[in-house]
């Protein structure tokens, strides 16, 4: 099957105050459509950087990033913004919801950026919230929701826009055990039912236990690409 995401020789070097830090070193990777892939590794291993480069949030120092048949690493800011808007959903460790918007408004935010009509936005956002079991909390602001509920809203925001890939950066890191497990199961269910490709950066063993493919990163390099039966 043609890979959905492909990276070749991906290198990222950060320069700060004259010091160089190499976050990724010539990473090669392919992810097929509909896969649920975890990127594992200790803190500082380059998981988030890899996710950012795949999602067009940053430019690599060297190497190539392809989405479908299109090379995206040379896109300018505006093309990358358009690419993210149409193809990627993001889930962040700190939820990153907009505090003055309700759960429904947050979930429909990307659809609004896409310029969808109000009725369609609301319908899709409500459906995404319902899929994640928080349909009845649509009118609450983030500060009226628990951490797990906020992260579900963040997943709903990513899911509602029907992206090709959802990139999740440590989505369970701020959640307690049960809540984290529930969220993992819900994301896997969405992956199965909607066929959305998930790439999740994590070092949460609970999540890693439930994922078929795990790419292990250490010191900016892929040290193991493991696929197993779940």
């Amino acid at each position: 099957m043609e890979p959905l995401v492909r990276v070749r020789g991906l290198t990222k070097i950060y320069r700060l105050d004259g010091q160089q830090t190499t976050a990724l070193r010539e990473v090669d990777l392919e992810i097929a459509p509909g896969e649920f892939t975890a990127i594992a590794g200790p803190s500082g291993s380059g998981k988030s950087t890899l996710l950012h480069l795949i999602g067009g949030l940053d430019h690599p120092t060297a190497g190539e990033v392809w989405l479908g048949g299109e090379r995206i690493d040379r896109f300018d800011h505006n093309r990358l913004a358009e690419l993210r808007l149409r193809n990627f959903g993001f889930v962040f460790q700190a939820y990153n919801l907009i505090p003055v918007l309700s759960a429904l408004e947050n979930a429909s935010f990307v659809l609004e950026l896409q310029g969808r009509p109000r009725q369609e936005r609301e319908q899709r956002a409500r459906s995404a919230l319902a899929d994640l079991g928080i349909g009845d909390l649509w009118n609450r602001r983030p500060n009226q929701l628990s951490g797990g509920q906020q992260q579900r809203v963040a997943v709903a925001r990513a899911l509602a826009a029907a992206p090709r890939v959802i990139l999740a950066d440590e989505p369970t890191a701020n959640l307690d055990g049960l809540t984290g497990l529930a969220l993992i199961d819900e994301m896997k269910q969405l992956n199965r039912e909607h066929g959305v490709t998930f790439v999740v950066a994590t070092h949460d063993p609970r999540l890693l236990e439930r994922v078929r493919r795990i790419i292990h990163l250490e010191d900016g390099r892929i040290v193991r690409d493991e696929t197993r039966a779940t």
Partner: protein, 409 residues
């Protein structure tokens, strides 16, 4: 996005209310300032046009004529008849101005002796405004004269004294004796030192029988500067009716320096109001900029989710415009209410009122505001809303999503 912008404004309530209040206060002050200045301008207008008329009729080329005999409208009665036929019911004043040597018992001065024939309403207003002692000469009084206060002091004469006039006339030099019946006070010292008033028939007897220097057309309904627009077609109509021997001029054409003075008020006013808006704009810049800095992480998320730089900049611009609009709406309502109240008439208290009167303005002034004034205020509000957002919007638009999401305020 407007909902997001509106809610974002009120995240830091105190700061936003402060900035909105500054805008609202400036709008209120701008409207009140316009209203009060328009009142003074209209007061000046009434004062000016009461004195010189809204339009004047002179002999054509009168400014360049040096010979007194050629500078007068010889058959004033005939022209008056045509004027009355063209503009029935017009308030018309006639004046004959004669350069004259006026002497008391011991001293003499060169003065501009004016024989005036004013309609009663204007005559009463003139008397109320300028007569300090005594009265004006009656319309048919052949012997009475009123003198500017400074001139009376110079000639060392008082009410009841006799003064002597020697003047070039259309029929040779005229000479006559008059009794001082009134002492006037003009705010302009030069006018006060050079003015002497007679009845029109008395002046004509002295210098030019049957002639006048000018007719003044007074349109009593015109009480505001904006009424002037109607003068231009009126002048054209009169000019056609009165023929080419005379020239009809609006007061602005006859007294361009006064007109320019009156017109210069508005640009100065707009400039000063603009300065106040700049100060209010600085508060808005501060509010919007701090709001952007505090929400760097949030803007990073918005950009990460796919918002282009242009959209992020428009979000900041919308916040600034909404903030300014909220303040401006309150300021506009208060400002219009203030002007509406002052439009019923107001007087400056105490010595301020004396100053106003000293400049020949009415004691009671009437504020007014035009749609152009409101449009200027609205333009200023939009202007500061946009300008105040430019820099913060640029900062927000240039954020890199990954760096911005790591930002800790």
């Amino acid at each position: 996005m407007l909902i997001l912008a509106w809610r974002s404004i009120w995240r830091h309530r105190t700061r936003s209310i402060g900035a909105a209040f500054a805008v609202g206060f400036t709008v209120w002050m701008g409207l009140a300032y316009f209203g009060l200045t328009n009142a003074i301008r209209d007061g000046m207008y009434v004062n000016l046009t009461d004195t010189v008329g809204h339009a004047q009729i002179h002999v054509r080329g009168y400014r360049d004529i040096r010979d007194f005999r050629e500078a007068v409208i010889a058959d004033a009665a005939a022209l008056r008849r045509r004027l009355d036929a063209t503009f029935p019911g017009a308030q018309v004043a006639a004046a004959l101005e004669v350069p004259t040597l006026l002497s008391g018992e011991d001293r003499a001065r060169g003065v501009l002796l004016a024989g005036l024939d004013h309609p009663p309403a204007l005559r009463d207003r003139f008397a109320a405004k300028y007569v300090r002692e005594g009265r004006l000469p009656h319309p048919d009084d052949p012997d009475g004269i009123a003198l500017g206060g400074a001139l009376a002091r110079t000639l060392q004469v008082k009410l009841g004294d006799t003064v002597y006039a020697y003047a070039p006339g259309t029929d040779g030099t005229g000479a006559s004796a008059y009794t001082v019946v009134g002492i006037l006070h003009f705010p302009d010292p030069t006018q006060d030192a050079r003015s002497a008033l007679l009845s029109l028939p008395a002046a004509q007897d002295l210098a030019a029988p049957g002639a006048v220097s000018r007719f003044e057309l007074h349109v009593l309904e015109f009480r505001r500067t904006t009424d002037d627009a109607a003068l231009v077609p009126l002048r054209a109509r009169l000019q056609d009716a009165l023929g080419r021997d005379v020239v009809v001029e609006t007061w602005r054409e006859t007294y361009p320096s006064l007109s320019n003075l009156e017109r210069s008020l508005r640009p100065m006013l707009v400039f000063f109001i603009g300065l106040f808006f700049v100060l209010a704009g600085l508060l808005v810049v501060n509010t919007i900029y701090l709001s952007v800095i505090e929400r760097t992480r949030e803007f990073g998320v918005v950009i990460a989710l796919g918002a282009r730089a242009g959209l992020v900049m428009r979000m900041v611009l919308a916040e600034s415009l909404l903030l300014c609009t909220a303040g401006a709406a309150a300021g506009l309502a208060l400002g219009l209410a203030t002007v509406a109240r002052l439009a019923r008439g107001y007087a400056y208290p105490g010595s301020w009122g004396d100053v106003v009167e000293a400049y020949g303005l009415p004691r009671v002034l009437y504020a007014s505001i035009g749609s152009a004034d409101i449009a200027i205020i609205v333009a200023f509000v939009i202007g500061i809303g946009v300008l105040a957002a430019l820099w913060p919007a640029r900062v927000a638009g240039k954020l890199e999503p990954v760096e911005a999401m790591r930002f800790v305020a």
